[in-house]
């Protein structure tokens, strides 16, 4: 205010109010120490910057919602019922998609015994997604628990390492097949078998991360400052783990779908009366040498590709954005 005036006398230019005692305001001292950083908001911000991932997320949400509401939409057919042509009394076998010569409308055609492929496709996607999500959640629970114990409790380290070495060296195919053999083929059997082989990787990742960050300087500092360990775990460790955990969970879904396809391929998957993407692929494979019947392979293959790629990309992008180092 006074800067532009020509200063004739030094004492005139000084504002006497500057020499008053300022009032001590406790809330103002907090202002510089406090930032409105929120882990989840920053994660969301970074995630939203990736247009492709957002588009895939929207796509996958639409697919998931559609698989859930599809049976309740009007004019949907049953995925397991065999449709019979009322005029000839024969089944609608291998009807082409939207074949105009057939009086009844099959959007994606029918399979070799006259079931509606459209309904089977969505029912199968529902089954496969259910398996994938269930495996992902169980893997996360078991993997995080064991991984945390493995990394945090020094005494358990040697024992769990040995168990891990043994379990990791048994080919996972053997475990998958023997378990599905011993138990009855059903959805829960498949989920159980996949969890038995899947938790290893999650546990190892969590353990390695905990080992790396538990004794970092900032954690030592927190401990020295008397931060309760609950707060250390939730504020210092967990944000670093979230990215890995979410990545593993997101990747568990495509790999579970792939495993289910594999089990169906070798004939040890779900019973054929439960439609699943693996069963649909196996059905389609049997007919793929006939160019007219290839649609029975393409539709499930396309859905599998869309679902697995989406989860893969979303998982990776989310893991990057949940990593606090990428936050502004």
């Amino acid at each position: 205010m006074t800067g532009k005036k020509i200063i004739s006398n030094m004492a005139d230019s000084i504002d006497p109010s500057l020499f008053d005692f300022a009032e001590y305001d406790e809330s103002k001292s907090e202002l510089t120490g406090y930032s409105n950083y929120s882990f989840w908001r920053s994660t969301l911000q970074v995630f939203m910057k990736n247009k492709l991932a957002v588009a895939l997320l929207v796509l996958i949400v639409i697919v998931v919602v559609f698989t859930i509401i599809q049976p309740y939409l009007p004019n949907q057919k049953s995925p397991t019922q065999i449709y019979i042509n009322p005029e000839t009394g024969l089944q609608y076998r291998n009807v082409q998609p939207n074949d105009p010569s057939v009086s009844e409308k099959f959007i994606f055609g029918t399979n070799s015994i006259g079931q509606d492929l459209w309904a089977r496709l969505w029912s199968g996607t529902r089954t496969s997604l259910y398996i994938g999500v269930a495996v992902g959640i169980f893997e996360a629970i078991v993997g995080i628990t064991i991984g945390a114990l493995w990394g945090y409790v020094r005494k358990l380290d040697a024992i769990i390492t040995e168990i891990y070495n043994v379990w990791d060296n048994i080919p996972s195919t053997v475990v998958l097949i023997i378990l599905t053999y011993i138990m009855k083929p059903s959805i829960s059997t498949i989920i159980f078998a996949m969890c038995m082989t899947g938790w290893l990787e999650m546990a190892r990742f969590v353990r390695n991360l905990i080992l790396i960050i538990r004794d970092r300087e900032y954690n030592l500092a927190s401990r020295c400052l008397g931060t309760p360990s609950r707060r250390i775990i939730t504020k210092n460790l967990l944000p670093y783990l979230v990215s890995v955990i979410m990545l593993r969970m997101a990747l568990a879904i495509p790999s579970a779908i792939g495993n289910e396809v594999f089990l169906s391929y070798i004939g040890m998957g779900l019973p054929i009366d439960i439609p699943s993407l693996g069963n649909l692929i196996s059905e389609g494979r049997a007919l793929m040498m006939d160019p007219n019947q290839r649609y029975q392979l393409f539709f499930p293959a396309a859905v599998i590709s869309v679902v697995t790629i989406s989860f893969y990309v979303i998982g990776n992008v989310f893991a990057d954005s949940a990593d606090p180092r990428n936050h502004v």
Binding site: N169, P171, I178
Partner: protein, 313 residues
């Protein structure tokens, strides 16, 4: 040397436990499997006689003891149901060689293509080629392999007029299986070499080399690549050895008489001796491969010392 010996003895212990676990798991399977289609035709006494012949009625610890004494003598036993009364080593011999041949060919292809692709991707990071490569890597990793195998089999046979099924004499029929086997590995090698190279590119010594005015090509070849290869080298022996285990999908799609589906078939038919031999083989391959990898890595990079507790993983 001492490190290798201790590690070897520990690995042997792991191996024994692994085989024992699988051995016991196989004994938990229902006995119907040993008879196949003839199960309903036989009466109770005949069944018991057969099981007794196979030594399956003994308590499990006696079976286990017999199994290990046989193995120490170098006798892996005879197949029970897969090809009855044929020695395991004879069954495996030809199949291993077939799978090994395909595996090595595809490994060579995927190393050359995959590493080349990864290096290009790292070189043009963020540009068009990098993005195209990433699309390929994501696709190959996310989508279940069988889907693109099926599509390749359906279309490539028509477009390029290649034979649909494998035949030993027709070398043109080897192209598609090798291509299929390589697709995933190309993505794998490209992804990792790119990641390691990008990591290395951000390091100080690269900046120093730039500041000294070295040519970009020299920096890449002499500095970045040599360092980026070190972690890759670790997995090389294991992946070479693992080629003997074949691929279930590729071998069944192109009807190659390899080891790929053998384990699955053996479990389904409950051929205990065959399963045990295979698990023993695959597990020891895994353990030996990892160890060779660590040793090779130490040889490649003098900074890595194996004798430290925990190794360099």
């Amino acid at each position: 040397m001492k490190y290798i010996l201790t590690r070897l003895s520990r690995s042997l212990l792991t191996l024994v436990i692994v085989v024992t676990v699988v051995f016991l798991l196989m004994r938990m399977m229902p006995i119907e499997g040993y008879f196949g289609a003839s199960f309903d035709k036989l009466d109770e006494a005949q069944k018991m006689a057969k099981l007794n012949n196979l030594g399956l009625l003994d308590p499990w610890y006696i079976q286990l003891k017999n199994f290990y004494t046989d193995i120490l003598k170098g006798d892996f036993g005879e197949s029970i149901t897969y090809r009855p009364k044929v020695a395991i080593t004879k069954i495996l011999g030809d199949k291993l060689i077939t799978s090994l041949r395909f595996g090595l060919a595809s490994l060579a292809v995927s190393l050359v293509v995959g590493l080349g692709m990864g290096i290009l991707m790292a070189r043009f990071k963020g540009k068009f080629w990098d993005k195209l490569g990433t699309v390929y890597v994501v696709g190959a990793n996310a989508v279940p392999a069988v889907i693109y195998y099926l599509l390749i089999q359906v279309y490539f046979t028509n477009i390029f007029n290649l034979p649909l099924l494998y035949s030993k004499t027709d070398s043109k029929s080897w192209i598609l299986p090798i291509l299929c086997l390589s697709l995933v590995n190309i993505a794998y090698y490209a992804m990792w070499i790119r990641r390691y190279m990008v990591d290395e590119l951000n390091k100080d010594y690269v900046r120093l080399a730039r500041a000294k005015g070295l040519k970009n090509k020299d920096i890449m070849v002499k500095h970045v690549m040599r360092n980026a290869f070190v972690p890759m080298v670790q997995y090389l022996p294991a992946s070479i050895l693992y080629t003997v285990s074949g691929s279930i999908y590729v071998e069944s799609l192109f009807s190659i008489p390899g080891t790929g589906g053998l384990l699955v078939t053996a479990i389904q038919r409950q051929d205990n001796t065959l399963v045990q031999a295979l698990v023993l083989l695959y597990s020891s391959i895994g353990i030996v491969g990892l160890m060779l990898g660590d040793i090779l890595m130490a040889a490649f990079d003098p900074r890595i010392k194996l004798s430290q507790e925990g190794g360099s993983r």
